[in-house]
Amino acid sequence: MAVGFLSGLIVILKYFAQEGIISRIGTDLIAWRVTVAAFALGLGAANLIQVHARAIIRREKNADSSFLLLATMAVFTVLGVVSGPNSAAYKWFWDNVYQPIYGGIASLLAFMIVSASYRAFKVRNWQSAVLMISALIVILGQVGLVSRVFAGLPSLSQWVMSVPNTAGMRGITIGGALGAIALSLRVILGFERSYMGGGQQ
């Protein structure tokens, strides 16, 4: 708890002290955090290995997929560590394996969104009507054929995006910032300790 309090306090003080020892220590602490967070990534990977290795040993239903995952992970980890993530070989696999799958899954979401909204969007009250109308204005405003028929729609769509959307998002951002500051203060002061596990507050 003392470690969390001290490190948080120094980073906050660094914001007010532009130079001097506090500023230097604060900058170092932020840089150290990147290193510790890198180790935490390894922790996540270790957990992934644990789960899938267990599936392979127990010959569970999708053990073949688990084996493929671990093999892919091992091959690309070795390739990335030995030759570096900017090497030609790593980049080739990145461009021809990772990116197409990511692009495919991301574009697959178009179907999911359409299917989910078809099932979920029912205009039950005025709030859902407002939501539906603004969504339709933004969607149709970007469709060339509709814009041909209703000439004012693209500019209305742009206005909705830049004025009421910004106003709503700004309110949410300010509210979220207040919440983040309150939670961070609780963490620094030691009132919030659930991240340590065990469920204690």
């Binding site: 510790v36 091959v75 899954i105 178009a110 700004r170 991240y195």
Partner: protein, 207 residues
């Protein structure tokens, strides 16, 4: 040659991903696991290079203080042992403390002061009026929910209730337009992928 193999591989993975639209096949599951494996490997590689560049190289240059984050990082793995798992709490508290400090200073500057400053506008046109009223009423909805749901003593709706409703309407417009924007972004992504499939992959296969 390598380019053709790459294009073929890209097309193959793209088609296996789209096969999910028909049925969750074994091929789709394999592709999904390859993706997760690659993403995990990339995280490890990025983490390793971060540790190498920011801690190991300075340590080799004589900056002994870099032993502290390295020890903290190693202590994280104590979580896997029952006896010494409590040791992982120190680096965890350190990370949370620094993250909280960065969040407080960052959120106060970017998400609080700058946003409020951007909302202080002259009320001389419709855009500015909508912007100021929308932002203030959205905040009022968040901060004064109990007041917004109360009715005045004479049974009529209170002023805060009206403001709260205006905030709700502004948020609905924001959510709706964001949703529309996401739908269009995903559709253009899909069109780009299909264009790639038809203009690059199929000609390679038909050769």
């Amino acid at each position: 040659m390598a380019q053709s193999i790459g294009t073929f591989l890209s097309g193959f993975f793209l088609i296996t991903v789209y096969s999910y639209l028909f049925k969750e096949s074994r091929l789709y599951r394999y592709t999904e696991h390859i993706y997760v494996g690659f993403a995990a490997a990339h995280a490890i590689v990025t983490g390793w290079h971060n540790v190498k560049d920011q801690a190991l190289s300075p340590l080799a240059d004589g900056q002994w203080l870099m032993l502290v984050p390295l020890c903290f990082g190693c202590l994280l793995y104590a979580k896997f042992t029952k006896r010494y798992s409590y040791l992982s709490r120190t680096p965890l508290a350190f990370m949370m403390g620094v993250a909280a400090g960065v969040t407080i200073t960052g959120a106060a500057e970017a998400s609080f002061v700058k946003q409020i400053r951007a909302t202080i506008l002259p009320l001389n046109n419709l855009d500015n009026i909508v912007m100021v009223l929308g932002t203030v009423s959205t905040l009022a909805f968040f901060l004064f929910i109990p007041l917004g749901s109360k009715k005045a003593a004479n049974g009529k709706r209170s002023f805060m209730s009206l403001v709260s409703n205006l905030g709700r309407a502004t948020m609905m417009v924001a959510f709706g337009s964001s949703f529309g924007f996401v739908v269009m972004a995903r559709l253009s992504y899909l069109i780009a992928r299909l264009q790639f499939l038809f203009s690059k992959v199929f000609p390679v296969i038909s050769q």
